[in-house]
């Protein structure tokens, strides 16, 4: 333990005296910064939700519209996650293992959804699949409604979260040792078996990381979904849109309950992810 402390840069054991005063000042500034801009708002939200009469918040939270919005959010995020895991892993695989024309273009534009404002994403999807577009009319003639319906929500979530899985899996695939695969192939394993028994176990943690990040993001996504799905209670109203509606109609108590649940949901996902990564690192050592 003590040897570890000494090896660490800036470890307490060998820190020169001149660092100490400015160190404390910087630490104070940092704590103030995080405290004021992050910790205080979160504490205020939770105490207000729990403080002013828990049963009233509970009543608001268990209204059918609120429960429906939470269930819809979970379902849509889960659907998005499944598609995202499949296509994201495949995209990472193709980008790392194969060479094809336009590859660098695809690789460079993977991050584009992170850069595009979510409102713009929503607008684009409405224009593309909406009732005025040719694709939209074609689809609704065949009984598939995209805009102001569930497929639109999944599509918007997919667009917004698509880089997560690709960017998590890509570096792991790049560093993967090919020897094991070649050994398995030499021993007569078929390609699919090699993928399932050799490659999948080593990229699985990365896939899980990407899936958790995209799920957590999807739980809270607002801009693209509110444009694409509208604000129809009991039909297309996801949790974040429900919260916005409650704020608009001046009912802060209704907003508070669902807000706390969303906050807790994404926190749980992140903590679970952190624990998993730590477990994985321990197993590697």
């Amino acid at each position: 333990m003590s040897s570890h402390a000494i090896r660490e840069p800036g470890g307490a054991g060998k820190r020169p005296r001149w660092l100490q005063h400015s160190d404390l000042a910087l630490r104070g500034i940092s704590l103030g910064y995080i405290g004021l801009f992050v910790a205080l708002p979160i504490v205020a939200l939770t105490t207000r939700a729990c403080g002013g009469g828990l049963h009233r918040v509970w009543e608001e939270m268990t209204r059918p519209e609120a429960l429906f919005s939470l269930r819809l959010t979970l379902m849509m995020a889960a659907a998005m996650m499944i598609i995202n895991v499949l296509m994201g892993t495949l995209t990472a695989w193709v980008l790392v293992r194969y060479r094809f024309p336009a590859q660098s273009v695809v690789n460079a534009l993977i991050d584009l959804p992170f850069a595009i404002p979510t409102v713009v994403t929503g607008l684009m999807l409405v224009v593309l699949y909406g009732p005025q577009s040719s694709i939209g009319t074609f689809l609704s003639a065949h009984g598939v409604e995209v805009i102001y319906a569930k497929p639109g929500i999944v599509l918007a979530l997919l667009f917004v979260t698509s880089p997560f899985v690709v960017r998590a899996v890509q570096p792991v695939l790049m560093e993967l040792d090919r020897d094991m695969e070649e050994a398995a192939a030499t021993l007569g394993a078929r390609r699919w078996t090699v993928f399932r028994k050799v490659i999948l176990p080593s990229i699985f943690p990365a896939v899980l990381t990407g899936a958790a990040l995209s799920f957590s993001r999807a739980l809270g996504e607002f801009g693209s979904v509110v444009m694409v799905a509208g604000n129809i209670p009991m039909r297309t109203q996801v949790a974040s849109v429900f919260i916005y509606g409650e704020v608009e109609s001046d009912n802060p108590l209704g907003a508070l309950g669902v807000s706390v649940i969303l906050l807790a949901g994404s926190l749980i996902v992140l903590i679970a992810l952190n624990l998993l990564q730590r477990l994985g690192r321990k197993r590697d050592e």
Binding site: L90, P101, P117, V126, R191, E221, V241, I243
Partner: protein, 295 residues
């Protein structure tokens, strides 16, 4: 020359000569690979390129003059300048304090540091709408701090300060997250050498630390700018979206869309999309610099 070399494959080589890249492509890629590559490219095209193409075409169909007119309208101009102002303010604050925080996280050991590290990442996992609700609760007229500010005659919520606060919250982790790993990697030796040679803390920071973290810092700032320009949910909840007063560019797009003013929505969206595309190109360059600095 090739006809002398390969007389027996005359007809084949003529096909290659016609479309060399097609033939080379087909030869190099077995069928299973071809299907997978096609699936990925098609998925990418439908999910991402098709919507962007539609936006460009939509703005084109509305016509250049209509688009320019919509962008020149006072509400639009005000919205864009407001977005710029908020972005500059939140980038400044997050860059200065984010760098300090990164220095503390990378160089100091104290109890509760792990908790602090966890809290720094929190804004990424909080829904923007929930972030907006937090600031309303805190700075609203009956909030802890809102009551205090209100008695001093300062409005935070439904006004500019609240929008800046919400944007700071949402973009807070970027700078710190990018700078911490760079700081950890470059170590303390150079700084200690500078100190031994008589530089004070300030000189050391400007002439030794800052140059070595500059690309990581630039990358973090670029991410912050991109997110601040496009922030919608948090700002919408906090601002109340008052036209010509608290409406940013993204809120303006939303307003134009709900009012069926598609020309205005398209034009403003295109401006934001082009800005974020430029930022993305910039980001790629930064990333290469950061990676080059590591090796």
């Amino acid at each position: 020359m090739s006809s002398v070399d390969t007389p027996s494959r005359g007809s084949e080589s003529r096909v290659y000569a016609l479309r060399p890249w097609v033939a080379a492509f087909a030869r190099r890629i077995p069928r299973a690979r071809g299907i997978l590559i096609f699936a990925v490219v098609a998925w990418f095209a439908v999910l991402i390129l098709l919507p962007i193409g539609t936006l460009v075409r939509g703005a084109w169909q509305e016509g250049l003059s209509a688009s320019m007119e919509a962008l020149g309208a006072p509400a639009a101009r005000h919205a864009f300048s407001l977005t710029l102002g908020i972005t500059v303010a939140s980038v400044l604050i997050n860059t200065v304090f984010g760098t300090i925080l990164a220095l503390v996280l990378a160089r100091q050991r104290f109890c509760g540091k792990l908790l602090l590290e966890g809290i720094v990442d929190l804004p990424f996992s909080v829904s923007p709408v929930v972030a907006g609700v937090m600031f309303i609760v805190l700075f609203g007229s009956d909030g802890w701090l809102g009551r205090w500010f209100e008695s001093g005659g300062i409005r935070i919520v439904f006004a500019l300060p609240g929008m800046v606060l919400a944007t700071i919250f949402v973009t807070l982790p970027f700078v710190t997250r990018q700078v911490v790993p760079v700081l950890r990697e470059c170590g303390l030796e150079q700084e200690e050498a500078a100190r031994t040679l008589g530089a004070n803390a300030w000189q050391t920071f400007w002439q030794v630390t800052l140059p070595s973290i500059r690309w990581g810092l630039a990358y973090g700032v670029t991410l912050t700018v991109a997110r601040a320009l496009g922030e919608f949910g948090a700002v919408l909840v906090v601002s109340g979206s008052i036209i010509g007063k608290t409406q940013t560019a993204t809120l303006h797009i939303h307003q134009e869309f709900t009012d069926f003013h598609y020309a205005g929505a398209f034009a403003a969206s295109l401006v934001l999309a082009i800005a974020s595309f430029c930022l993305l190109v910039f980001m790629e360059l930064m990333k290469k610099r950061v990676e080059a600095g590591r090796t």
